[in-house]
């Protein structure tokens, strides 16, 4: 059993156990809109620095963005796509 550092606030997602997950999520959720923007900004910066802003990048950096866009748009249009289902009962 790995020992994780003390306070719940300072841990990253990989260090949180399943039992503490809801509390951790509540703790890390944004309280003001400014916090939400900051989180989005930090996330984008992390992704950009890791996959795109390198000397010899691969197709992964942009391809993952496109794949994420495809998945997100499918999720958003699912209520409309439901009507094209082939089976009547699931």
């Amino acid at each position: 059993m790995l020992c994780f550092p003390g306070a719940l606030t300072q841990r990253r997602l990989g260090q949180v156990t399943l039992r503490e997950l809801p509390d951790w999520l509540v703790l890390k959720s944004p309280r003001r809109p400014r916090d939400a923007i900051d989180m989005v900004q930090r996330g984008w910066q992390w992704y950009y620095r890791r996959y795109i802003d390198v000397k010899k990048g691969g197709v992964g950096g942009v391809a993952m963005l496109l794949a994420g866009y495809c998945v997100l748009s499918y999720v958003w249009t699912y209520p409309h796509l439901k009507r094209d289902r082939w089976r009547k009962y699931h």
Binding site: Q41, W44, Q45, Y48, R50, Y51, I52, D53, V54, K55, K56, G57, G58, V59, G60, G61, V62, A63, M64, A67, C70, Y74, L81, K82, D84, R85, W86, R87, H90
Partner: protein
């Protein structure tokens, strides 16, 4: 490879600019650390390698693939993913995309790398030029400092020059004074000589005239001349004695 193009063309650059403008820390940005060589690894282009590493201890190498297959089958059977006309569209586009990436990927990557290298070479050139000019400036500055040390010797030499010129001037003037004085004195001497000579000649002429006028006979001429000479000699002796007294 696409990210290389993106990096080169700077389409996403405005986002980086936005992030940089939000930095308010007091640490300076220079020198900027170099970019990492390679980005995060992805398998098959869209799945990060971290997932495979995460599942490897529990499920081995085939774990993520089984996970993917299971998820796919579940979504198809429960019709969470609906197959309609758009599926074929997506499949065609996906196929073309994958074919293009596989075929033209390396060429585009090489092109983007070449552009990058040209940019870097230009910047490096500017930097090298600046460095050489600055080192040259430093050397010249050192030389100037060395020259300053020799300035005291220069001043000594100049001082000596000035002293010599003054000396020369002074001597010239001395010479001039001496010459002028000598000229005036020579003039006075010449004047006196002229006076005496004129008096002598006048006396001789007068004596000749009066003596010859008085004694016309040729016989007693020699006698009278001898007598005159002795008389003159006596007179001269008398005047000389008078002058010395």
């Amino acid at each position: 490879m696409l990210s290389r193009l993106v990096f080169v063309s700077g389409k996403l650059y405005f986002l980086v600019q936005a992030s940089r403008s939000l930095q308010t820390s007091s640490q300076s940005l220079a020198p900027v650390p170099p970019l990492p060589e390679k980005g995060g690894k992805t398998r098959h282009g869209i799945i990060p390698e971290e997932l495979f590493q995460f599942l490897y201890p529990k499920t081995g190498v085939t774990g993520p693939y089984m996970l993917g297959t299971g998820l796919l089958v579940y979504m198809l059977s429960k019709e969470i993913y609906v197959i309609n006309h758009e599926t074929f569209v997506a499949a065609s586009i996906g196929g073309v995309f994958i074919y293009a990436v596989k075929k033209f990927g390396p060429q585009v990557a090489a092109f983007a790398d070449k552009l990058n290298e040209e940019k870097v070479a230009k910047a490096q050139e500017v930097k090298d030029l600046a460095m050489t000019s600055l080192t040259q400036a430093i050397e010249e500055e050192k030389k100037e400092q060395w020259r300053v040390e020799g300035r005291s010797m220069l001043f000594d030499a100049k001082r000596n020059n000035v002293a010599m010129i003054l000396e020369t001037n002074y001597r010239e003037r001395l010479h001039m004074v001496t010459n002028e004085v000598k000229r005036r004195l020579d003039y006075q001497i010449a004047l006196q000589d002229l006076h005496r000579r004129m008096e002598q000649e006048h006396m001789v002429n007068w004596v000749e005239k009066s003596v010859i006028g008085q004694h016309h006979t040729s016989a007693g001429e020699k006698e009278s001349i001898a007598k005159c000479i002795t008389d003159l000699k006596a007179l001269a002796k008398a005047t000389q004695a008078k002058a010395t007294v």
